[in-house]
């Protein structure tokens, strides 16, 4: 058995090292054809090709230098466009001279009399950026000029880039697609082989490492867990956390560097949805595999408990079918991408105008999806939490929960159990919920009115801040990267706005509780140790009190690891749920509350 485990470990490490090596495996060669294929706007395409051709047909061996050079080209193009289309100081003087102290767009029309593209652009830019000043009278012509100066710098800084240059979103997208298309190397020519040699080998190795656990008798086997450098925040745990954090940073913020990894799964993506893979296809693919492989481990580890086995099967199913396969198939059928089990506000972009428009324009199915999503928020969450507790979602259905309960299971003992952590948790998670609600209110306001300014913020800016800090930073980088450092539920415990919403219902209106079995607790502390949400379960069990906590995701591990059968997840009538502290067995002792 030991040999099989060792072979598994070696295979896994080999596959993993090769996977990392692929990051640097390609050369990059940009051609005219690639530019033409990746930049759809013909004018911009031409600009890109004219401005600097030194990179064309060159062989660049480093992805970093290739990306830098591409980005330089975008800079050059934008500079050229700025000098071509930029509104000059002379024009500004002339315009202010003609306007006196009252602004009118008529003056703009009379300034640019040409019919050429540049004049047309400038006229339009003034209309877009200055029409709100129309007819306004100023104290002095000097003041008007100052006002116009601001508008000129807005046009020169943003207007030109947006209209005739490349804005930062385009630069990001096109840099990514140019890099991916320009790569030449082993992965490009043989993606399937390398997929098998990297991810395939990792899966095989992991399974070989896991399956021998079957030779141990069923039952809780956490022996030596705090002596394991992977599981006690030792060097291996820190290394793993660092790798995960880097992976997420690249995935969310610098995808242009990881095109080799994405190319690896192109064949899978094409088979499923007909298109080349994007970064989130790669992510979803690896994510699902992690849940499946580590789900097998979870099932073996807790195979004496039907609750844990069924629960793990459930998260494996929902991830594979609902989060991964169905959305891909929907794309193949030309329907909107939709994860039927994702719920706002975890799915924070559910009400974004682009997605609502997409659903509304997708016919009956789209309307159904919209209705389904809303029904989950206002009916699904409260009703199911009332009957089952928030676990129906957090530890049976949710993808974040699914990863935490499988890949993250070896780290559950690392969650902080202090009262201080609990306080921080409550402040943080409810702040994120408020943030998500305010952000979404802004988004919906903008959708109905078209105005981007809502209350005290710009709704576009706010959703971007939310996406970067909460959606990517918190849920991804911290949420998963910190598994080996702070336990497997950092996001669910401190950040997830949906968990906050589910938790409020669970705390105030639910039949769910963890029952303490009379006076049987022996204070061993296993329950608190293995509570991934950092609940000090023992504190309740010692005094014979039920555990009703908004954060409890009902994973049932406290009950599984209890050596005395003290804890049980139960749904019963609401009354008496909180329960008074009782210590059965001792006639004369009552605990004061």
């Amino acid at each position: 058995m030991k040999t099989i485990k060792t072979v598994g470990l070696i295979l896994f490490i080999t596959g993993f090292c090769l996977f990392n090596g692929l990051f640097f495996s390609a050369d990059y060669s940009l051609t005219r054809e690639i530019v033409k294929a990746q930049i759809s706007d013909e004018q911009k395409q031409a600009l890109f090709l004219q401005s600097d051709s030194s990179l064309l047909n060159q062989n660049v061996s480093s992805v970093f230098s290739f990306v830098t050079q591409i980005e330089r080209i975008f800079d050059v193009v934008n500079q050229i466009q700025a000098s071509t289309y930029g509104i000059t100081q002379e024009e500004l003087y002339e315009l202010s001279a003609r306007s006196g102290n009252q602004f009118s767009l008529g003056a703009v029309d009379s300034l640019y009399i040409g019919e050429d593209a540049i004049s047309e652009f400038k006229k339009k830019a003034w209309k877009d950026y200055a029409s709100w000043l129309e007819g306004r009278t100023f104290e002095s012509s000097e003041e008007l000029k100052n006002q116009l100066q601001g508008i000129v710098s807005n046009i020169n800084q943003y207007g030109i880039i947006n209209q005739v240059g490349f804005d930062r979103y385009q630069i990001k997208d096109i840099t990514y697609s140019l890099t991916k298309a320009s790569a030449v190397g082993p992965v490009k020519s043989n993606p399937i082989l390398f997929l098998l040699l990297t991810i395939g080998l990792c899966i095989a190795g992991a399974l070989l490492y896991i399956l021998p656990k079957l030779t141990l008798l069923p039952g809780i086997k956490n022996n030596g867990i705090f002596f394991n450098v992977m599981k006690n925040t030792g060097w291996l745990g820190i290394l793993t956390g660092t790798w995960l954090i880097l992976f997420y940073v690249v995935l969310y913020f610098y995808p242009q560097y990881m095109t080799q990894w994405i190319t690896l799964v192109d064949p899978v993506s094409k088979a499923l949805n007909g298109n080349e893979a994007g970064r989130f296809f790669l992510y979803g693919f690896i994510y699902t595999l992690c849940i499946l492989v580590m789900g097998v481990r979870m099932i073996i580890h807790y195979r004496h408990s039907k609750y844990q086995v069924l629960r793990t099967c459930s998260v494996m199913f929902f991830q594979t079918a609902f989060a991964f396969l169905i959305p891909e198939i929907l794309i193949r059928l030309n329907k909107p991408y939709f994860d039927f089990k994702n719920i706002w506000p975890l799915d924070y972009s559910f009400f974004f105008d682009s997605r609502i428009s997409e659903l509304i324009s997708a016919g009956t199915l789209g309307i159904f999806m919209l209705g389904w999503g809303i029904a989950l928020i206002i009916i699904g969450v409260p009703v199911l939490v009332y009957f089952f507790g928030k676990r129906w979602y957090c530890s049976w259905v949710c993808g974040c929960g699914g990863l935490a309960e499988t890949l993250g299971d070896p780290y559950r003992q690392l969650s902080n159990k202090t009262v201080k952590a609990w306080k921080i948790e409550r402040w943080m998670i409810h702040s994120v919920l408020v943030f998500a609600i305010v952000m979404t209110a802004g988004v919906i306001y903008t959708y109905w009115t078209g105005a981007s300014w809502f209350l005290f913020f710009d709704s576009y800016q706010l959703r971007e801040v939310y996406g970067a800090f909460i959606g990517a930073g918190f849920a991804g980088v911290v949420g998963t990267g910190f598994y080996p450092l702070m336990g497997n539920r950092v996001w669910c415990r401190f950040g997830c706005p949906l968990a906050a919403y589910l938790g409020i219902v669970q705390r105030f209106k639910s039949r769910f509780r963890i029952t303490t079995n009379g006076g049987q607790c022996i204070s061993c502390g296993n329950c608190s140790t293995y509570c991934e949400m950092g609940i000090d379960v023992r504190w309740y069990a010692q005094r014979g009190q039920n555990i009703v906590r908004s954060s409890c995701v009902g994973c049932g591990v406290c009950s599984s690891v209890c050596p005395r059968g003290v804890l049980n997840l139960e749904v019963k009538e609401e009354s008496g749920r909180f329960g008074k502290p009782i210590l059965i067995g001792n006639n004369n002792v009552k605990i004061s509350e």
Binding site: L217, G219, I522, N568
Partner: protein, 271 residues
Amino acid sequence: MLVRESAFWSNVLPLQEANMISRHIQSHHVDLKLETELKEIQSDDKGCVQSIVTNRGETISCQFVGLTVGVSPAIEFLKDSGIATKRGILVNEYLETNIPDVYALGDCVERTYDLPGRRNIEQVWYTGRMMGEVLAQTICGVKTKYEPGPWFNSAKFFDIEYQTYGNVRSTTENIENEFYWEHSGGTKCMHLVWNKQTQQFLGINSFGIRLRHECFDRWLRDNQSIQFVLDHLKEANFDPEFFNRYEDEIIKQFSETFPNLKANSKVTSTL
């Protein structure tokens, strides 16, 4: 592992349970040598243990010996203190020793008064805890007697959890009747004992099936009958959701063994 008795812990557990636990211990690859005692510990030239010899003449080489032959209060250091001791430190129902403001509790204590059905030295976790609770109240100004309710205890043997409520002795007494059920998998069993004449339920041992303390505490206090307990056995189940339930099987076997004590498994839950 050497065990003097014919099965593991059979001085406390009835033979059926002791045998089941013995098999479970062996399935964990522990070489359980029953009816065997330690005769000699042999050392090497550095004075470290090298091997042991059993009373059957077998020599087993080893680097470590764990002796677990029971506990007795380590109270020699109190010899000249004036605190009254016998086998343990003597205390009254307020856990007071013979010297004012000196209390004793836990494993080291020997009660000077009798509690029905209980020994005067009770070396288990729960009694220690309960004495602590009582004494804390006394010290905080509410003078409280130590009066434990019905007996209960629990343990875990490798993967098998054990709970007991009331009294199930290693051998039943004359007036007692007993019923034993064991699951075919050999890791779960239940043992019930009641009074032959009155049918009063006296105690239960449960292995591999969790039971609700609150139910058995109440039923023992209310002197419920064995029929009542079987009728309500389902209510007392404390296993997690989706776990297999065995009450029907247990009740069926019980009715077959004691046809005139027929338990009605159809009683609806009152919980």
